[in-house]
Amino acid sequence: MKRTIKSLCCISLLILGTVSLSSFFIAYSHNSPFRWKFPYQQQGLTERQAAAHLLSRFTYGATPGEIDEVVKSGLENWFKQQMDADLPDDSLNRLLAPYDAIKLTNTQVVTEFPKNAQVLRMAISAGVVNKDSVKTDRKSYRDVLQNYMQQNGMKPEQELFRQFINQKILRAAYTNNQLQEVMTSFWFNHFNVSITKNDCAQFIPAYERDVIRPNALGKFNDILLATAKSPAMLYYLDNFTSSAANGNVPAAKKLIRAAQLQNMPSQMVDSGRRAALVNKLQKAKNTQGLNENYAREVMELHTLGVDGGYTQQDVTQAAKVLTGWTIYPIGQYGKLGKNIMDKIGADRLENRRFVRDSDFLFNANRHDKTEKVVLGKHFGPDEGYQEGVQLLSMLAHSPATAKFISRKIAVRFVSDNPPQSLINKMAKTFLDKDGDIKQVLITMVSAPEFWNASALREKTKSPFELAIGSVRSLHADIEQPYQLYNWINKMGEKMYYYQAPTGFPDKGQYWINTGALLNRMNFGLALATGRIPGVKIDLAALNNHHEPESAQAALAIYSKLIMPERKLDETIKRLTPLLTDPNLAQRVDEASSNKLYAKVGEPAEKSMTAPEKMMADNKLAAQGKRPNNVMAMQTPGNNKSMLGQVVGVIIGSPEYQRR
């Protein structure tokens, strides 16, 4: 990689000799040389300090020795590499190989991981379960259903989410393309969807994989359009159901009349027929009419921001522009579209101005064909799918959006309250460079504000960042990622389950409260003393197997290893008196050794996904060991359990909560 950059530089010199296009060099593109220089020296930072800051912002935490690597390759080179996001990830891919569910298309997911209610319906209609016996005998009922699923190649939905979450944890911890993963988390949170919403849950793995990650370092307009067309977003914010308000009125009216006739009190006896009609009526009602949810949130949360200058009128008009944007029928999803399409015939869809793009469908029959005006711009009449594309493009290129997105990026990467001067620079780049996210990032990192002392250590790690960062700091081996997820939940970040479309707030005050803070401390202790099942650490190896002479020495050595380039005098000073009690280490050991061995390493297998179990078993077989989470470090009778405790305190310390 380094060599390519060098040779590219040579080529650039040649070009420089013949063509003088200075703007060419300022503009960054994948294959062109670059000439930006990070202004950290002017802000009083050494190269190593700058590298530490860079790593704290654009990775999930520095691994031991990573600062040296960044300094060696050059900070700018490292950053460019991260933006290219094409470093090989062989060892990560090996870890991910057993996770089969995360590779499935939405269609496959819907078939393999049906909803519980759907399984029940299928089982009842297949005669496997008698609907009257349902839930009278819970255990046998569950067993029957489980059998039925197994025989038909179906798996519980929870398995899909587990694999998806495990995958995310492994990726964040081990990918070489850290920036891409950080940006993936950023955009997922920006375009939040939630597993708590049943209808969109199954589409979320593919949403992150196909919609967010590939666009994470691309153009804003592309990611906006991709999210708008994704099944996850279409269901999460209900646009799948939105249609021209007056569509199909005669049929609905007929149904209402029929229902009313059937509902006369004298005819109440025929309740079955009545119920069927009423149901039909309800369905007819549900399937028509404008739904403004997406139109509102796309402006408020995805693009312009709440103060972006739009009105309720704009929201309603935008919703009309987006009528007919729905999903291409998949299993139980998008049934209504299926009926219409079957009628029309697949080959004639295009003539009828339907548009299909993978799982997305523009259903022309449901589109509002009148003329609309959003923020002063006219759409239609009757320009179909293109109206929505134009609307989103207009939003993506608005100055309000440039500011809103730039601010959000600066909040993520600089501080909870980034300087306006920085946001302005980034917003200008956003507008000048067609919403190119890489360009916006370059502007940010090239600005003095990024390196200013007021930005250093200013961010509070989210629980996910803390957990993944610790794993990276300690070179931990994750065999059961879900165990980490449980801790992340406990610390207050139930990832992928955040209910509101706002996504998690990106500010320290949100993450730090009493309960969460105690859990952070407990997490540090649990991780460093080897008590998180399936997450293995080797503290001795971290220090090249040099055993510290004393607890005090351990504190000095390991805080430097775990928090390089930080001022740690105060931390060390504070902790030292506690560690110098001559009998303390021994007392801790005595108190911990026996009970510790009795309690750790308890089987967690029943809660493992198949790939987790496979990973754990392979590993143990390779080492010729029985399951045991206690590493050599915690053998009793010396300072080693003290070491775990010291490291635990470091991970739980206030300094380590900051980045």
Binding site: V278, T460, A500, L517, N522, R574, L578, V588, S653
Partner: protein, 423 residues
């Protein structure tokens, strides 16, 4: 802006200063010396909200038993208030409404006029999606998805004082509920015993680690971490006063051994510990009864037995604290008037809710429910929403917690109250 907690200033904590390592932390001693020692928690009221997730069938919980339409619509689900054979009839509340027999523990509370019921409560947004309806109810803005805060979090901001302790707003859930989203201090915790520095099997190590953390957080330059660190250790110490694990409820109260029973038991503990709890939240699950809902017995009966049993146990346990506590239930919508083809009910519109407290206009079934003739139903099938949930929530919050800024609590709402609280 986030309002930082003011409890350290109050000095009242010195009373609780049982140090982790046996001593009283210096800053507390200072506070005690410099200020009058007053208990900051006295006379604080507590509102406990219970969300019944999945949409409770309000017509089965509180049945209009004379309604022929309902009887016709529910051939196997309808219950009578008249005694017949061995079966337990509905509990006749007022000649019109009957309480499900499994909620018999509610009857005395209703007769004593401490328990009020609102029938026909719901959201003006007619979505029948659990997610959307819960989201709207918890954010308190039924037509706006983008509201970042929850109504109970806004309530905390309207208490009229800084949050006095880390326990001002507590959700007994593993994740923060939508109702609690927002900038005002609140915590979610599923088990009070977790509120400590823990090293399994190594209490000595845990003590040492706790001391280390306390020192470290005391010196950090980050104001947020320093302040929250202090509060965290104070919280730990507050809870250490009591033996949480071996708690014995007062007055022979027996909590059901259920998630809700556990949550309410812990809320009762917090209230009795005087740790400044003002807004509490708990959840009850399993109300989405599409299949074999049951009648006198079955899923629904078990659910309401758990709900009423847990609430009644809490009430009994609270004893002298009852005057300061109001309990309110809520559910995202009701269920269809008609039973479906699988012995259950589908997603509907209005449901009912229960409000318990000594300042409740109790012993009444409030609301404006009409006979269930089809012309009175919403969309020809569902119990119509005749009381906006915000009307009841705002009245309860106002009368019990003295929160009367509806523009903040429920920004889009300007309706009337219906008198669920005594004037």
């Amino acid at each position: 802006m986030v309002s930082r907690r003011g409890f350290l200033k109050s000095g009242g904590l010195a009373l609780l200063g049982v140090g982790l390592m046996g001593g009283i932390p210096g800053f507390l001693a200072e506070a005690a010396a410099s200020e009058k020692i007053i208990s900051p928690y006295k006379k604080r009221k507590t509102l406990i909200c219970i969300f019944q997730r999945g949409a409770m069938d309000g017509l089965m919980a509180v049945t209009p038993f004379n309604d022929q339409y309902l009887k016709d619509a529910r051939p196997t689900l309808f219950m009578s208030a008249a005694k017949a054979g061995n079966s337990s009839p509905l509990i006749d509340l007022d000649g019109r409404f009957g309480l499900h027999p499994s909620m018999k523990s509610f009857e005395p509370l209703f007769r004593e006029k401490r328990l009020g019921i609102v029938q026909g409560i719901g959201s003006p947004n007619n979505t029948r999606s659990h997610f959307d309806a819960q989201d709207y109810m918890e954010s308190g803005t039924p037509f706006n998805k983008g509201t970042s805060s929850g109504w109970l979090n806004r309530a905390v901001g309207l208490l009229g004082h800084d949050a006095l302790t880390p326990f001002t707003a507590v959700s007994m859930t593993s994740a923060m509920p939508r109702s609690f989203y927002g900038d005002n201090p609140s915590v979610s915790i599923s088990n009070l015993q977790d509120f400590a520095i823990q090293m399994r099997g190594n209490p000595m190590g845990a003590n040492m680690a706790a001391k280390s953390f306390e020192d470290l957080y005391d010196q950090t330059s980050s104001g947020l971490l320093k302040q929250t660190g202090k509060e965290s250790f104070e919280a730990v110490k507050m809870l250490q006063k009591t033996n949480i694990k071996n708690y014995t409820p007062a007055n022979n109260a027996v909590y059901p051994n259920s998630a809700l029973g556990n949550s309410l038991k812990q809320i009762a503990q917090l209230i009795k510990m005087d740790v400044g709890l003002e807004v509490a939240f708990a959840e009850s699950n399993g109300w989405d009864t599409h299949f074999n809902q049951g009648a006198e017995n079955g899923i629904f009966a078990r659910n309401v037995a758990d709900l009423s049993g847990s609430i009644t146990a809490l009430w009994t346990d609270l004893g002298a604290y009852q005057d300061d506590v109001t309990v309110m239930t809520m559910t995202e919508f009701g269920r269809t008037v008609h039973q479906n083809g699988t012995g259950g009910t589908d997603h509907g519109r209005a449901s009912c809710n229960f409000i318990l407290g000594n300042d409740i206009n109790g012993g009444l079934v409030h609301g404006d429910m009409k006979p269930l003739a089809v012309e009175n139903l919403e969309d020809g099938r569902d119990l119509a929403v005749t009381t906006d949930f915000r009307s009841v929530f705002s009245e309860v919050a106002d009368r019990h917690l003295n929160i009367n800024n509806d523009h903040v609590l429920f920004p889009d709402w300007s309706g009337n109250r219906i008198g669920v609280m005594r004037g």
